[in-house]
Amino acid sequence: MRPLSRTLIVVLALALVAPALFIRPAPAAEDVKIALVAPLSGRWARQGQLKKMGAEMAIEEINSQGGIRALGGAKIVLREGDAGDSVEKAVSAAQRLLTREKISAGIGSWLSSFTLGVTEVAERLQVPWLSLSYADSITERGFKYTFQTSPVSSLQAEQALELVTDVARRNNRPIKKAAIVGDNTAATVFFFKPLREKLLAAKGIELVVDEVWTPPLADATAIVQKLRSTQPDIMFYGGTNFPDSIQVLQKIKEFGVKTPIQGVGAWLVTPEYVKTVGKELLDNIQTVVAAHPLKGQEDLVKKFVQRTGEPFMTQDPLCTYAHVWLIKEAIEQAKSADPKAIRDALAKIDLSSGPATSAFYPARVKFDERGRRVGAAPLIVQWQGGEPFTVVPAAVATRPLAWH
């Protein structure tokens, strides 16, 4: 066969196949489209994948239970945007998604730095946006369309410090020296800032190590060497990039450092930690998170585990699951799929039961004028025997806290 005709056949074959790759089945007219902008590629893709699992589970539940009643049983469909590994990509994904078709509400984008960018787009295009990100600045800009369900970083810092100093005192190992170790992504920065500037000093705790890096971290030796030589009583830890975090934990073991670790964020309690460093190394490491399965949520977790094959459920799928339900509730109340009407409904909403509140502690959803969830309080989750359990507050804990 002559090369030209062969090329022609390939081109024709591609032309036949190509449309199937690009055209997705059109949703029925009354479907309500919600956006999920999360990292689905790049170094945070795993978190995006977990969020997607939560969203899909909620959507399946809602649709199988008859959809949105106020809209005549309209089904919810998910539109995903890949936030990738940079703020620019996250912003352009949101921009594309929200301008291409009519989106009723959005969720995302995991990393606070991404959420800051994506919510700007949502604000401009007037689409209500739900986020689990922690950074204080997300709801400090006077935005009307941004709703933050998690307790903000500075509050988490305050409460985490309160808790660890209290537990340490009760165990007769008062905290006198502390270390701050982590990267410079937004949520971590906002967690460390109040500790560094006022909280530690107010408790008479000396800051002996303060090491912040830009991911990726080349090697953790210098950091851990400082921990070894200064022997702090607690280490506040924020290594959101998995390889960085693994390097720090491995080095801590290698250097025989015994400092208790108090992390910030749910990245520290994902299943891959067990596979990579083993459960012995993780035991007793604790982290402050915005959500984690609580006492009484066993059925939800069981369903998630069966559905996804994940060994346990964590903040990211849990919050996204609740966000989808919350959007559903807002649409029911607004009786409309119009983004502005949904925003107004979210601003007025006050729920204290049902799946929409399931992920949150305390289980009430009401937003203040800034878009922050009223009363939002962090949880402490601790690794015990290769699984992370909610240990604080005691009322909703699934295991008692073990101190080092």
Partner: protein, 297 residues
């Protein structure tokens, strides 16, 4: 500062640099022989990490051995990629156009490999748990991480093997001849196209082996290349474009500078030191540490 601490920083820097060095020589070889800037080099490293992982999981093969076992399949893969893709855009034609085409090709290849891996193997990070990743050899107060020490030693051995191959064997000489002057080499009966395939195969195999060594202590994920690719290019340019010993020393220098930078700058500026040294070298010695004006391997 205590002397022991300084020694610790130097040792850590060299150990980190050892694997950078091995990653970089493959890139240097490919550039030196073929004038191809391979943006997908880091992605082949990532694939090498995955293969080492699968060896470890399915065959209980220790990753240090697994790293060596990545060499044959990746040599073949490199050869195939060269034959199937790169050979179509290099060799013959307008030299400027050629450059554009191969840049776009390797960049595209990188995107395809990363995204295909994310789709097929999922973005969930994997790790090989080795005892030596969290243990150290203690030389007095200085601790040398065992995994990094083994990786360093193997990187040295592999780099030495490549050097001996290039300088002591007929095939190696033919490869260097093709790099120095492809036209003259072909007049001498050397199949330059085959030499390019050989260089690409070896370059890919080396970076895959470096990935295998890295996997002894570093988590594996589809985007892991992004953490190293810039440093690889800096090492290659620092050492003198296309120079194998240069790339090796360049890799070591980067590790060392990253580590020693921490003595004077905060952690957030760790790579600033690397780029300051890089700019200084380019300013004072534009051809790189080991570069010659002529093409060299």
């Amino acid at each position: 500062m205590a002397l022991a601490e300084l020694v610790q920083y130097v040792a850590t820097g060299l150990l980190v640099g050892g694997v950078y060095a091995l990653m970089s020589i493959g890139l240097a070889l490919i550039f030196g022989v073929m004038r191809v800037v391979n943006f997908a080099q880091g992605d082949f490293m990532m694939l090498g990490m995955y293969l080492t992982y699968f060896y470890a999981i399915s065959g209980s093969i220790d990753p240090l051995l697994g790293a060596l076992l990545t060499i044959p399949p990746f040599f073949v893969l490199g050869w195939i990629v060269h034959r199937g893709l790169l050979a179509r855009v290099t060799g013959g034609g307008d030299p400027q156009r050629q450059m554009d085409a191969q840049l776009v090709l390797t960049l595209g290849l990188s995107l395809v490999i990363t995204n295909a891996t994310t789709m097929i193997l999922t973005p969930t990070p994997l790790g090989i748990r080795t005892g030596y990743a969290t243990q150290a050899f203690a030389l007095g107060p200085v601790l040398l991480n065992q995994a990094r020490s083994y990786a360093f030693a193997m990187a040295l051995v592999l780099a030495a093997a490549v050097y001996v191959f290039l300088t002591r064997t007929d095939l190696g000489k033919a490869l260097r001849a093709s790099a120095d002057d492809p036209e003259a080499a072909s007049y001498q009966g050397i199949d330059v196209r085959a030499m390019h395939g050989l260089a690409f195969g070896i370059g890919i195999a080396l970076v895959a082996a470096a990935g295998g060594l890295l996997a002894t202590y570093y988590p594996i994920e589809p985007t892991v290349a992004g953490n190293f690719i810039v440093l690889m290019f800096v090492a290659v340019v620092l050492g003198g474009l296309g120079s194998i010993p240069g790339a090796f020393v360049g890799g070591l220098v980067i590790g060392l500078v990253q580590s020693l930078t921490l003595l004077v700058l905060p952690f957030q500026l760790q790579n600033t030191g690397v780029f300051i040294v890089f700019l200084l070298v380019l300013y004072l010695r534009p051809q790189g540490l080991f570069g010659r004006r002529a093409r060299t391997v």
